[in-house]
Symmetry: C2
Subunit: 205 residues, 2 copies
Amino acid sequence: MLTDRQQQLLDYLRDYHSETGLMPSTREIQNHFGFASQTAAVSHLRALEKKGVIQRVAGKARALVFPEELEREEIVDIPIYGHIAAGMAAEAEQEQEGCLSIDISSLGIPRNAKTFALRVRGDSMIDAHIVSGDCVVLEFREPRNGDIVAALIDGETTLKRFVIQDDQPYLQAENEMYPDLTPARELIIQGVMVALLRRGEGKVA
Amino acid sequence: MLTDRQQQLLDYLRDYHSETGLMPSTREIQNHFGFASQTAAVSHLRALEKKGVIQRVAGKARALVFPEELEREEIVDIPIYGHIAAGMAAEAEQEQEGCLSIDISSLGIPRNAKTFALRVRGDSMIDAHIVSGDCVVLEFREPRNGDIVAALIDGETTLKRFVIQDDQPYLQAENEMYPDLTPARELIIQGVMVALLRRGEGKVA
DNA sequence: TTCCTATGCTTACAGACCGACAACAGCAAT
DNA sequence: ATTGCTGTTGTCGGTCTGTAAGCATAGGAA
């Protein structure tokens, strides 16, 4: 669909944009390709626009947009803390393992929700179909009865179902092999599960 | 952290950017807020930059960037077809239910991989911990033994494990209640599972 | 063959767009 | 009393897009 030269132009636009966050001006394109005029750059941009891979806004500087980016929903960046979220409650930012960026409508949360993610270790939630290695997205809010929550117990975070019975909250593992946990003193809930991301696929056992 | 006025500025930048894909010039900011000069806009931008919520590039037009966007990994847009992917094999784009946008490193796939997503219906893969309602991301490529695949059978797409035994491929459900499927004629594999997204959380049964 | 269109360039110029700076000022909080 | 916030007037000079006019090559259609 695109000619070689046009592909080179497009690659340059993408590189420039991902490095600087901006789009190049026609003269910057000119210099990069060694054109003697910016008109050459303009005509290429026109060609790219006609083929639909970029959009231009007349009269405005650096006014190039990739159509995908325009149509895209708003993206949120969710920090991934390790398995251990201890200290989280103290609002101290601890080591981030990385970041998960995803559009809000796929996640189904409001844009202003405070969220973070944890990587699951162990099989205590296996009956809720959450397996070791899964990445769980949690929202920082009050838990409701039956929510799956990340709770801080003995300095370590675990994922359990939050159940209230007779006005008494306790934590329930979704695995027959694990006992229920009734809080000794107080129960610190770090977040409520709102989504799960599994990367790869459970390979054959 | 931000003053009211600065928040208004920032909101305007976000709105403008999400609508047009561009950033406003200082004079556009001026007009929007009714300033008598663009210097007012500039000084606000400087304040926002000092507080770290935007970055500016000196001397370039419309050269404002949100830091989150710069740090963000590359995002891919994955079309979500319905439960039924029939016709997919024919390369005909059928109704899209929506789009899943996520960064490539969280997904763990190469940027040029051809991917699509399907919403899972039924419980035939329950033992692989894939439940009804899950959104499965698939890559269009040749399956390997043990991969979980979307396959076209009788005009409907199902998710099964792809197994080769004695040079004979067949499809295996991950649920004791379902039988294995040996292809009557040929087996059309539409994609290989590379990730899974579960929205919400399996509420208490 | 001939016409026509798409590609890929050049030179030259107009004119608006745009960021930067200098200098100043009222107001609030520390 | 100084700093930060929120503005004003005015100007300078480079940036940036747009347009006009032209040239060469290649491929498809008439």
